[in-house]
């Protein structure tokens, strides 16, 4: 399982990133993330055209798992409730991209 999380936007326009690969990461972390993915129904959520409000934070989540791969881009305000625990977990694990 591979996860790529990218967070951007907000007034400050900062960027954060987190990546996880179950081939190199801990089993404990993999199990926790898998549980969050299952509970969020990630692969069943439709990518909708979110009415993105200025200076909202944007979350981009790509999950590559077995024969399924999907990317969801969603703002904080429009995120489905079920997805929020996964978003919060990935956000807390992410680090700011320092640019230069």
């Amino acid at each position: 399982m591979k996860i790529i999380y990218h967070e951007s936007g907000g007034f400050a326009g900062l960027q954060k990133k987190y990546e996880f690969d179950s081939d190199t990461g801990s089993k404990e972390e993999a199990d926790r993330l898998l549980s969050l993915i299952d509970n969020s129904d990630f692969f069943d959520i439709a990518q909708s055209e979110d009415n993105f409000r200025p200076d909202s934070v944007l979350h981009s989540i790509t999950i590559d798992f077995g024969d399924r791969k999907k990317t969801l881009n969603v703002s904080s305000a429009a995120a489905p409730e079920k997805l929020k625990p996964l978003i919060k977990t990935l956000s807390k694990k992410s680090s700011y991209t320092k640019n230069r």
Partner: protein
Amino acid sequence: MAFGRNHIHCIIPPHMLERIIEQGDTKQRALALRALMQGQTLREERSLLQRQPSLIRPRMLTGLESFTAKKIRRVYDAQCRDNLPGVLVRDEGGGSVEDDAVNEAYEGTGHAWDLFWKEYKRNSIDDAGMPLISTVHICEWDTVDSRWEDVNNAFWNGEQMVYGDGDGQIFTRFTIDIDITAHELTHGVTDYTAKLVYQFQPGALNEHFSDVFGSLCKQRVLGLDVKEADWLIGEKVLIGDKYALRSMKAPGTAYVNHPIIGTDPQPANMDNYLDLPIWNDRGGVHINSGIPNHAFYLAAMRIGGFAWQKTGVIWYKTLAHKLHPSSSFINAAESTIAVAREEYGSGSLEEKAVREAWEEVKVI
């Protein structure tokens, strides 16, 4: 004409008019009947004015246009929850409270309203006296640690401004900078004017206009001319004296080697435009805004004086009357040049200044 009396407050009650209709002479009965019919309309209008106090229009001053715009500010406290608007803690005309964030939101929106009304004759966000609603102390539920946590952000949600308090590590409260408050309010103005779509170049322009009027609001409050202004956006919100969030004068230098967030990524011209995908800051709207921001700075420096005057007028009229949802940087350049020509004449210093500014950032 009776300027001193408000016609809305001078209606003879219907039961008296009915008595006059029964008992009065011919002329008295005719006047009373007409007043009874007019009164019904006026009572409906008064009810509306009570609900919408900004619509104060003395209507019966025949031949005269007299309109008083009034700001209506309401600041709410989310009390570290995420329900909007929250609890009303300061209403228009209410005195200062102990909460700095509340007072800053109140004063900041007032200054932004003043800029748009006094300099550009725009009556609030919608040009129709829309109340200015702010919520401070917004929080977000942390599902990992099961607690409400502070938010490192301020935003416009389509109806109001919302401010977080910052995490205390990287950011302090987002009401601390006047330009942030005016920036968010200007997103509302853009919603009611050009409606620039929040992605790629139109989105970067949306951000740009908010930075422009955010900066102009700060400069006007402090009385700074173009040489005295620091041209920084968010110089207090980032913790640490040597950091701001953006620089219109020198994009890419607002924060350098910050231990957590690194260095300001904004480009100053099209050579360094970042072609980002939509999932990355909606195509880099906060990043590529550095290019038109720098054009504004260059135009303002060439025109001189107070930037909210001539240069601000050009930019305001461009936003309000020229641009459309999918406008690009080139559209903005062409439109500002056209407005400068219309306002100040063909071949004027102002037209030349605006054209050279866009040339220097390589948009044209």
